[in-house]
């Protein structure tokens, strides 16, 4: 799937064909849209949290393909690298650390699912209605290839707008560069990551409650036969929650 992603998409942006024949841009749009929406729904439907994470990876990968198709190459690559390559790896780490046997597949009750389905469909209807009410925009002239957006984006982040004003807006008004938000986001990221690191590695003083919980769970006397430990833990859920089960 990923291999189809940009290789074919790239070809489509390179040399679009006369409209009468197959419009490759639309074909790949349909392909990636189908993957993205299909796996997004699969995320909702899946029970096992690890499978949900995997479906999410596929869905966001397909969204990156959509960005490439829409001419935003830099954002597509950014999505692949930061979002799928960074954030989702972090998410999968979280899943791995907490995916103990009983927690992996928590079933939602039937009533919730029906309710959520109903609300979802209603919200979807509203959104689709508004999507189609948008006045039909002029599709791209055949054979037009957008010039690369990487340098204009880079320059705009430094505050110098070099891209030509789009959509017939009057060229006179000065469009703002993104120097300030760029600096704010970088500081924000720094603060957030330091905070997250601190939260995850906090030095814990063994609270009395934790001592009592640990005491209630009979520690395996000596390092007994490994298999028996495994079976006994299966029955009583995870060792830590022993006190409660």
């Amino acid at each position: 799937m990923i291999s189809a992603l940009s290789m074919i998409a790239g070809i489509s942006t390179a040399a679009p064909l006369p409209v009468a024949a197959i419009n490759w841009h639309s074909v790949f749009f349909l392909l990636f849209a189908a993957i993205a929406c299909g796996f997004a729904v699969a995320v909702v439907a899946a029970e096992n949290v690890v499978r949900m994470a995997f479906y999410l990876v596929l869905s966001l990968g397909a969204t990156a393909g959509l960005f490439f198709l829409a001419g935003a190459e830099f954002v597509g690559a950014m999505q692949l690298m930061i979002y799928v390559g960074g954030t989702l790896v972090l998410l999968v780490f979280g899943v791995m650390l907490t995916a103990q046997a009983p927690l992996v597949a928590i079933k939602g009750s039937g009533r919730d699912r029906v309710l959520a389905g109903f609300v979802g469909v209603a919200l979807l209807a509203v959104l689709l209605q508004s999507a189609f009410s948008v006045k039909p925009w002029r599709a791209a002239a055949a054979g037009m290839v957008a010039e690369p957006a990487a340098t204009p984006i880079g320059m705009s982040l430094v505050g110098v707008r070099v891209d030509d004003p789009a959509g017939g807006a009057p060229a006179t008004n000065k469009r703002p560069g993104y120097m300030l938000p760029f600096e704010i986001v970088s500081i924000h990221l720094l603060v957030v990551l330091v905070g997250a690191a601190y939260l995850a590695r906090a030095k814990r003083r063994k609270t009395p409650r934790a001592i009592e919980v640990a005491a209630s769970v009979e520690p395996p006397a000596s390092v007994a036969e490994h298999a028996s430990i495994g079976r006994e833990r299966q029955r009583s859920g995870s060792v830590l929650a022993g006190g409660r089960s």
Partner: protein, 125 residues
Amino acid sequence: MNSVVASAVPLFGLFTEPVSVAHYLVVGAILFVSGVACMALKRNALGVLMGIELVLNGANVNFVAFASPYLQGEGSRSLGLDGQVFALFVILLAAAEAAVALAITLNFYNNHATVDVDRADDLKG
């Protein structure tokens, strides 16, 4: 030649018709709705987190759709570069948000040995 298909979108017809911004908006809407449903449905804290990621991506698709050089708005102005830069900032902040959310989830897991959202009922953390 560029008559965009009216409300009903015959998918098989689309192979020869150019894509319009409405199609991108549909994809954005579906991602957004599945994100909201996921947040509502999942009892696992990480499931809720994945719902948030989907919602953010739905928004990103719309941003990029309006900013796409291939789809120039007749009636209203296309976003031009701003749309792409906004999408960039959404991606960056989503990374930060995921980091903090995961730190909180793992800490919750440390203290309560479970990430089941329904178990998080007592305020004393």
